[in-house]
């Protein structure tokens, strides 16, 4: 955990105190101001990006010309927002905060507005939604209608405060102790033991520990964010729902980083599938969006194809099940999830190395 992350956590605690002391939406407005100050102190360019993009998006939605040309508005803004996100990724020397998350939140609100599911939000409501510090750094990519409902119902109680604080503690334990210390130490020891093994085996074992590391660190960060929000009296969407209990790959992706998976399902998979009348194309597009959201390179291109292949095979096996006893089929299906996921890295690197890339 970096000093920047700790600074944002401490700022979030100040924000939580403000939301408890100041009742109603004014408490959340205070949180938004604290968010702006904290991000400006750490990374003025990120603060400018968040404030500028939020202002442009909300003004565009409230503009009468844009209301009559919703398709053109959302296309222009979505392309611009995604382009800025990818450009920011190329500038490694700058500390970027939360761009990957608030860009997806912008597109979510624009899409819902375009489909006519929500009216153009008031600027104050939109800024309150985008400038919620606990969810800035590592999500969850919470939805605006849900957030507004939570804001209306918000009543910070002692039970919610202590349940949230406990969640924060568990999140820290997961990130600091399990991910950064335990998994990393075991991985380092195992890598030393496997130094003489073939490259494929080493990558495979590395991949197992990387999945575990991502799980413990990312679910920990999500737990901290959800816990801090709960301390303010807001229930945010969950990001992980026991993904290792998934009984197949489709089930896994509905339990792993759920707010991103749901975003890709609603704004990539469904539109592409509907427009092309081809669910497979929609699946590949959704997985490409998910992969490129992490990083736009050849590795994640192949990563997306590998995951799409896994999901397509799972669909086929559902349609044409193997002639096996039910308990054995269920066990194999459950085992196929960690096997397929851990094989992602060695397979992708094998293909890239084989192609000399």
């Amino acid at each position: 955990m970096t000093i920047a992350a700790l600074f944002l956590f401490c700022s979030s605690l100040i924000g939580v105190a403000a939301t408890i002391l100041i009742k109603g939406n004014r408490g959340l407005d205070a949180m938004a101001i604290i968010t702006l100050i904290a991000i400006t102190l750490l990374s003025p360019i990120s603060a400018g990006w968040l404030l500028g993009s939020s202002t442009i998006v909300v003004i565009a939605m409230r503009n009468s010309w844009a209301a009559h040309h919703r398709g053109a508005t959302i296309s222009t803004l979505a392309i611009a927002l995604i382009a800025i996100l990818f450009i920011s990724r190329e500038l490694d020397t700058v500390l970027w905060i939360g761009g990957a998350y608030f860009t997806l939140r912008h597109i979510h609100v624009l899409s819902e507005w375009w489909m006519g599911k929500i009216p153009a939000p008031l600027p104050i409501d939109y800024l309150r939604y985008q400038f919620f510090l606990p969810a800035i750094m590592a999500g969850p990519i919470h939805r605006m209608p849900h957030f507004e409902r939570q804001c209306r119902r918000r009543r910070a109680t002692a039970l919610q405060f202590f349940s949230g604080a406990e969640r924060v503690l568990i999140g820290f334990f997961s990130t600091v102790v399990l991910a950064s210390w335990a998994v990393r130490r075991i991985a380092t020891g195992t890598n030393t033991l496997l130094a003489e093994q073939p490259e494929f085996i080493r990558h495979w074992v590395e991949s197992v520990f990387e999945w575990l590391h991502i799980y413990f660190s990312f679910s920990g960060f999500s737990a901290i964010a959800i816990g801090l929000a709960l301390m303010c009296g807001l229930v945010l969407e969950e990001n992980f729902r026991r993904p290792w209990a998934a009984n197949n790959l489709i089930d896994f992706w509905s339990r792993w980083h759920m707010t991103l998976s749901n975003w890709c399902r609603d704004y990539v998979f469904r539109p592409v599938s509907a427009a092309s009348r081809n669910a497979l194309l929609g699946l590949v597009a959704a997985m490409l969006a998910m992969g490129f959201w992490h990083q736009a390179n050849l590795y994640y291109l192949l990563w997306a194809f590998w995951q799409s292949l896994g999901i397509a095979l799972t669909h086929m096996l559902r349609k044409y099940p193997l002639p096996l006893p039910e308990s054995l089929a269920r066990l194999l299906s459950w085992l196929s999830v960690p096997l397929w996921l851990s094989l992602t890295k060695p397979m992708v690197l094998f293909i890239l190395n084989g192609a000399g890339l």
Binding site: L159, L169, F173, V177, W181
Partner: protein, 51 residues
């Protein structure tokens, strides 16, 4: 009743649950603080206390 406390009280009496919850909280806090603060970050503080 927090989720962890509720989980403990499901299997143990209240007094034991309180003790266990305190123990778990304390253990987690000690581990987090120990591992979160690397020696080089606050080297001077460690020197002052004799490390």
């Amino acid at each position: 009743m927090t989720p962890l406390f509720r989980a403990f009280t499901r299997y143990f009496p209240d007094w034991l649950s309180v003790l266990m919850l305190s123990g778990v909280y304390a253990a987690m806090l000690v581990l987090i603080i120990t591992l979160l603060i690397p020696p080089h970050t606050f080297g001077i503080i460690y020197l002052d206390i004799g490390r």
